[in-house]
């Protein structure tokens, strides 16, 4: 008996499995036990893939027995946001539309985690088709924030953040179109990274906004996230994703590099913004001081077009969502309305009854914004705003190596507290510019809110393809903030003994 699985880092697990301290099967079983005892409260999982997990673990153990070299994630329990295809599981996107859909193939990001030796524990809850920031819009059930079950975990990768926070798995993959990894990581107090656009393959991840989507890891340590980045980028460019790049490198190599003398930007106007909770503001200010204490130069920078990012983001995201979700018509897969006399009736009712309200709203908005005569005013304008925002970042990153800001204007709120969809859109202001420009960002827990006691994450953003450098700053912040490896208090050690 080594103690609780949730106390171990990914590297410790992989090392332990490789050395033979414990078997991958024992780790998988511990993770299954943790899920069994904890997931009733968090409701982070949509499917637990027990058979796949035990089979993968058995393969890892057999490989070790045969003297084969094990991967860097050997035996590490991993789960996937349910918009990622994995053969042997359903990929539902938390939607009735895809409730019956059995993955016909496996996503590249999932496959690369498995190739690194990870054990797949299942599929995680999310906002339906990733539209949202609460995970409440899942068609199946909400997910609860492990720090306070009455509150949301954030979203859309809320299941991924909650499962990691509650210690059910060691690592999870999420996807981030407008903050959907960084915001739930912030609200749950774990590390969530949105790599630069093109670093991780999108092949096999159900598309929301194709020019904005990026897959990334969520873990309880920066090191775990860096280890996952190694796996996700191993093997170079994915030939199945025409927008992916060769970003193979060792993301662990520079984690412990000093940040002395390196410049971190802050944007004063953002900290003055209406809607920013005072406890979040003070947490970010404290984080800036801690980075300064570690030797970083804190400099003021400006992203002057950030104010236009909300409009630009919702135009781009809605238009691309309309287009990407057009394929769900119930013909080849997914929900099909029974008993229809005509094709048009079948398509319209399958879509009406298969999609939830927000999925319909986004598609309707996108269909309008792309229509002839409207396209130029919104879509084309939004792509021009993208040019301006990208240029803003280039100017800022000519001065600083990273920019520090909140990931969310507030800590996690109670289920149902915000119901106006348009009001929820405004909360994305800190995360969406990054998706528009395609650079990298990460949320690192920096402490608990002085008012709420809920976790707060600080977001660091770096230049495009400076993902390894961003991890250096994230690690420096983590070292300074004493939140490394934290599992939500109510869950620590509850089931999942190894």
């Amino acid at each position: 008996m080594m103690g609780s699985l949730d106390a171990l880092s990914a590297r410790q697990i992989a090392t332990g499995v490789t050395r033979g301290d414990f078997s991958a099967t024992e780790v998988a079983q511990a993770s299954l036990d943790a899920i069994a005892s904890r997931d009733g409260k968090t409701q982070a999982f949509l499917q637990v893939s027990e058979e796949l997990a035990l089979a993968a673990a058995a393969r890892t153990d057999a490989a070790r027995a045969a003297g084969e070299r094990l991967g860097p994630l050997a035996g590490v329990p991993v789960a996937f946001k349910d918009n990622m295809n994995l053969v042997g599981t359903r990929t539902t996107c938390a939607s009735r539309m895809l409730e019956p859909y059995e993955s016909a193939y496996t996503a590249t990001c999932v496959q690369r985690m498995l190739d690194a030796g990870a054990t797949p524990l299942g599929k995680l809850n999310m906002d339906e088709f990733a539209f949202g920031s609460t995970t409440d819009s899942s068609a199946f059930h909400p997910t609860n924030n492990p720090w306070d079950l009455t509150r949301v975990p954030g979203g859309s990768s809320g299941g991924s953040a909650a499962a990691v926070t509650a210690g059910e798995v060691t690592l999870a993959l999420g996807s981030d179109t407008g903050g959907s990894i960084r915001q739930p990581a912030s609200l749950c107090g774990v590390v969530g990274m949105k790599p630069s656009y093109g670093v991780v393959s999108r092949y096999g991840v159900v598309a929301f906004g194709s020019s904005l989507d990026q897959v990334g890891p969520i873990g309880r340590r920066v090191e775990d996230v860096a280890l996952a980045m190694n796996a996700l980028t191993a093997g170079g460019r994915d030939r199945l994703d025409a927008t992916s790049r060769d970003c193979t490198q060792d993301y662990l190599a520079h984690l412990e590099d000093p940040i002395e003398g390196r410049a971190v930007g802050v944007i004063p106007a953002l900290l003055e913004a209406e809607g920013l909770a005072p406890e979040v503001r003070s947490a970010i200010e404290r984080a800036a001081h801690k980075l300064a204490d570690a030797g970083a130069r804190i400099m003021e920078v400006d992203l002057p077009n950030m104010a236009s990012s909300i409009a630009a983001y919702y135009v781009l995201a809605s238009c691309e969502a309309f287009s990407n979700l057009a394929r769900f018509d119930g013909v080849r897969y997914g929900y099909q309305e029974p008993g229809c006399a005509t094709l048009a009736e079948q398509s319209s009712l399958s879509r009406a009854h298969g999609f939830g309200p927000e999925a319909k709203r986004r598609q309707m908005l996108g269909a309008y914004l792309l229509s002839s005569g409207v396209y130029e005013r919104y879509y084309l304008a939004a792509q021009k705003v993208r040019t301006l925002i990208t240029a803003d970042y280039q100017r800022a990153f000519a001065q600083v190596d990273a920019i520090l800001m909140p990931a969310s204007p507030t800590v996690a709120w109670e289920h149902g507290a915000i119901s106006d969809p348009a009001a929820l859109y405004l909360a994305d202001v800190y995360t969406i510019s990054n998706n528009i420009a395609g650079n990298c960002g990460i949320s690192v827990p920096v402490g608990l809110g002085t008012d709420s006691g809920m976790p707060i994450g600080a977001q660091l953003q770096g230049p495009t393809f400076a993902d390894a450098s961003l991890l250096t700053f994230a690690r420096a912040l983590e070292r300074a903030c004493d939140m490394e490896g934290v599992v939500a208090p109510a869950f620590v050690g509850k089931g999942g003994e190894l």
Partner: protein, 101 residues
């Protein structure tokens, strides 16, 4: 000019999303709220700014070789379809009897 209920019904028909009367009212309200949120974009000074359609920098000419890659078996291809006939996917009548779809 705000979208009318009829405008929204037209978009719903195009987007193949059947809406009930109540949903149509709600959707009309939502669309107009959302458009109000987006409208500032019309007034930005974007003269002379080129659009960036792809956040991929200088990435261009990404292609693959013309070589065959194994696809799905027939069983795999049809496994998720709700209606099939023989080796094919099946849809109901495209034109209603005596009318057009």
């Amino acid at each position: 000019m705000p979208l009318t209920r009829e405008d929204v019904a037209g978009i719903a028909a195009y987007a193949r999303i059947a809406l009930t009367d109540v949903e149509l009212d709600e959707m009309t309200a939502y669309m107009n709220d959302a458009i109000a949120l987006l409208d500032p974009i019309i007034d930005y000074d974007l003269d002379g700014v080129e659009p960036t359609f792809h956040p991929t920098g200088d990435l261009a000419n990404v292609v693959r070789e013309d070589t065959v890659v194994a696809g799905l078996s027939l069983e795999e291809a049809l496994a998720n379809a709700a209606s099939i006939r023989g080796r094919s996917f099946r849809v109901p009548a495209i034109l209603a009897v005596g009318g057009s779809a």
